[in-house]
Point group: C2
Chain length 214, copies 2
């Protein structure tokens, strides 16, 4: 049976709407009283798993789901062995370097060598500063990264920015963009190649519904 891994949080509603448009109804996950992590489409032909956004690529990589929706930011950070098949166009944001507005820094290269950069995106941040040939210490945080510069623990942060409201509220400004992100449809590579459970038809239908292909 076709199984789709769906991410909890901000991408969920758009993901479910898109799948509904191609005949897969997992809207039961949008019911606030729902406690199930696994549901069947009413037609009984497909199943969905509701998992943390960082876990979607894990379920798809291990083949427990043939399809999944994940942010490009998560895919860049975790580098899972999955096929990225479509840019779904929603969930747009960017991974950016930000500093305190009161700081003297306006470009990444202004940051002091061996300074500290707090981030949830440790891999992406490390890769970025290595490419700039700027040695910094990445401080791994799991949330509220904006506290890094506020408390003086780090000179800068690397974090996702969508509206910019959180930065503004915390007196931070965006300096440079590492990359733009959006939701991607991912597939288990072998299922994709072998067209298991007719996933290629599903992907084609979803492609029709979206505008931008990767």
């Amino acid at each position: 049976m076709l199984t789709v891994a769906l991410p909890k949080g901000s991408l969920l509603t758009d993901s479910i709407r898109l799948l509904q448009s191609v005949g897969l109804d997992f809207s039961a996950f949008l019911d606030s009283s729902n406690r199930q992590l696994q549901i069947l489409d009413p037609t009984g032909t497909a199943r969905a798993l509701l998992v943390r956004t960082h876990d979607v690529p894990v379920y798809v990589e291990y083949g427990q789901a043939q399809l999944g929706v994940a942010g490009y930011d998560v895919l860049r950070e975790k580098q899972p062995r999955v096929a990225q098949v479509l840019d779904l166009g929603f969930g747009k944001c960017r991974l950016s370097v930000a500093v305190k507005e009161s700081s003297p820094y306006r470009r990444s290269l202004d940051l002091p060598a061996h300074g500290r950069v707090a981030s949830k995106f440790v891999h992406c941040a490390r890769e970025y500063f290595q490419r700039l040939d700027l040695p910094v210490e990445i401080v791994p945080l799991s949330g509220s990264v904006e506290l890094g510069p506020i408390t003086g623990m780090s000179e800068a942060i690397v974090d996702l920015v969508s509206t910019g409201r959180t930065l503004k509220e915390n007196g931070l400004i965006e300096m440079e963009v590492l990359f733009e992100s959006s939701a991607r449809l991912i597939a288990h590579p072998i299922s994709y190649r072998l067209n298991t459970d007719g996933i290629c038809d599903r992907i084609a239908a979803i492609r029709e519904m979206t505008t931008t292909a990767v």
Copy 2:
């Protein structure tokens, strides 16, 4: 100024009550309308940071907070360079191996070699199975680990158990305990040694209020 890092989530209320009993009032964090991540004690002599449970040791290790409250499970998993100064006695739980009740496994050593074990506690799980000389593949998940065996992705999980309700609801049973956990008071090693901001007196007062020392 003395800064204390407090964990969001299940340890917060007990942490705040304990600090109140030694004259540090951070109860503003318990107000559901509070959005601040940083507050002062009403006497203006101490500050608290409200951060994710996994980030408490980071703030303490980097010296942005001299004291913090963290679960022993987090300390075992992340191995931060902090001083563990007190067992606070609350937040009791255990890190355990669990499997589907319908599985043939009843001890960790029954698990098949090269089987899969899903966990948020990748480091602890790896260390445990290495000690057993049982080669398994650890599947890193960030939440809802119980889905691992349910979907067939893993034979077992290593996860925190407190009441056992989540396991039961998902048809899983606890096989073996890796270790017992509870909330710990941690300190920045240098601040502790130099008694910065009189933290040794604070620790002594907190010790008086708790029963078990580490």
